[in-house]
């Protein structure tokens, strides 16, 4: 096999070496690509992707957070203004209720007063009437007593005459 294991002339071209190197370089290239380059570049790519993803997701969550903060701020603002309206409304309704109560109380008091006045008037009138009647009755009684006692025939006659005379005049 090793036909001439001799010292070669130094100026001969080692074509065999060239082929040996070319072939073994190709083989080594394939091996390195499969066992070292492939895994390591894949890992580096994975890492690059992961970092890019992380950056993107961080950006997204930051946007989300700022959006949420904005939303919260506006909601707070809304709640504040709503509370202000509620308080304002309550104040207004309280005010109106107050005036209403006062007016109704006033009118009620007025009505009560009028009733009382009316009642008092009525009572006065009634009393007056009763007194009048009493006076009339009394006077009639007194009159009848006096009449029974002192009325003579002559006087009676004169009285009747005057009465008749009064009728005639009317």
């Amino acid at each position: 096999m090793f036909a001439q294991s001799v010292l070669a002339e130094s100026n001969s071209l080692y074509v065999g070496d060239m082929i040996f190197y070319l072939v073994s370089l190709v083989i080594l290239m394939l091996l390195v690509k499969k066992f070292a380059w492939g895994p390591i570049t894949k890992m580096m790519q994975d890492r690059a992707d992961k970092i890019a993803n992380d950056i993107d997701s961080a950006e997204a969550s930051r946007n989300e957070a700022s959006k949420l903060a904005e939303q919260r701020e506006s909601e707070l603002q809304n709640a504040r203004s709503e509370a202000a309206t509620i308080v304002g409304n309550a104040k207004q309704s309280g005010e109106s209720q107050r005036t209403q109560i006062i007016t109704s109380a006033q009118s009620e008091a007025q009505a009560l007063k009028e009733n009382a006045q009316q009642d008092a008037e009525q009572a006065r009138e009634d009393a007056l009437k009763r007194a009048k009647d009493d006076v009339a009755n009394l006077s009639i009684e007194i009159a009848s007593k006096i009449i029974h006692k002192e009325l003579s025939a002559g006087d009676q006659k004169a009285l009747i005459d005057s009465y008749i005379e009064g009728l005639g005049k009317e």
Binding site: D17, Y21, F35
Partner: protein, 238 residues
């Protein structure tokens, strides 16, 4: 020195034991280095994974710097693989040189012009192929008469020059580095026995080895950069 080496003939082709053994050693080292670093990968990298990822990023950066962004991912593996293979090859001879009977058996594979020219040639073939695949044969041919027709010979010469310089630059740097290292070692061992020369040879050797590590890294970087440039020239629209 490289001059003569053990060789053998197989199927009528000349093989050089030095290159075969060194190449095999480098292939095994590269494979197990990468295989070992890429075990137990996690999203949160630790230890070896960090190193490998840094390395991938580094070579990706070289490729990306030389071509439009849409083409770069396709050739990033080529850049990664070439860099690590050439880098390990360049350093291999600095760490380990082994000879037997006055002839080398193990050294940097890239210190042999046949190997570097093989690399360079396959890269050039690759650039032309991807150029045709990307832009079609007609457009690929038109690339030779750009910007004006009479530059055709210069363009052709440029292609040939690219092929030569890509391989020879690498070979020259690494070969010279190892040659000097051997000469420094020769100071310490002038006739096969340890001599007093070791006193100044040792620090010199340390300094030069450090420098060679640097050169080896630079050459791997340059090779990958130029490969990216050549591919980019063929692929990208001007």
């Amino acid at each position: 020195m490289g001059g003569d080496a053990y060789t053998f003939k197989l199927f009528g082709l000349m093989f050089n034991w030095t290159n075969i053994l060194s190449g095999l050693a480098v292939f095994v080292i590269v494979f197990f280095l990468l295989f070992g670093l890429s075990r137990k990968l996690t999203l949160k990298p630790t230890g070896g994974q960090n190193a490998l990822e840094w390395f991938v990023d580094f070579t990706n950066g070289i490729v990306r710097g030389q071509m439009p962004a849409e083409y770069a991912p396709r050739y990033s593996f080529l850049g990664f693989f070439l860099f690590i293979f050439i880098f390990v090859s360049n350093q291999f001879g600095l760490i380990l040189q082994f000879g037997w009977g006055g002839h080398e058996l193990l050294r940097s594979p890239t210190a042999d012009p046949v190997i570097t020219m093989t690399l360079s040639f396959s890269i050039m073939v690759l650039t032309h192929l991807v150029g045709v695949a990307q832009n079609g044969f007609l457009k690929y041919l038109k690339g030779y008469v750009k910007p004006v027709a009479f530059l055709l010979p210069i363009n052709l010469f440029e292609e040939f020059g690219n092929f030569l310089t890509l391989g020879l630059r690498l070979f020259g740097n690494i070969y010279a580095g190892e040659l000097l290292l051997k000469m420094i070692a020769g100071l310490a061992l002038p006739d096969g026995h340890l001599s007093l020369g070791v006193i100044y040879a040792l620090p010199l050797s340390v300094i030069w080895q450090g420098f060679s590590v640097f050169i080896g890294a630079i050459q791997a970087y340059v090779f990958v950069t130029l490969t990216s440039v050549y591919i980019s020239h063929k692929v990208a629209e001007e």
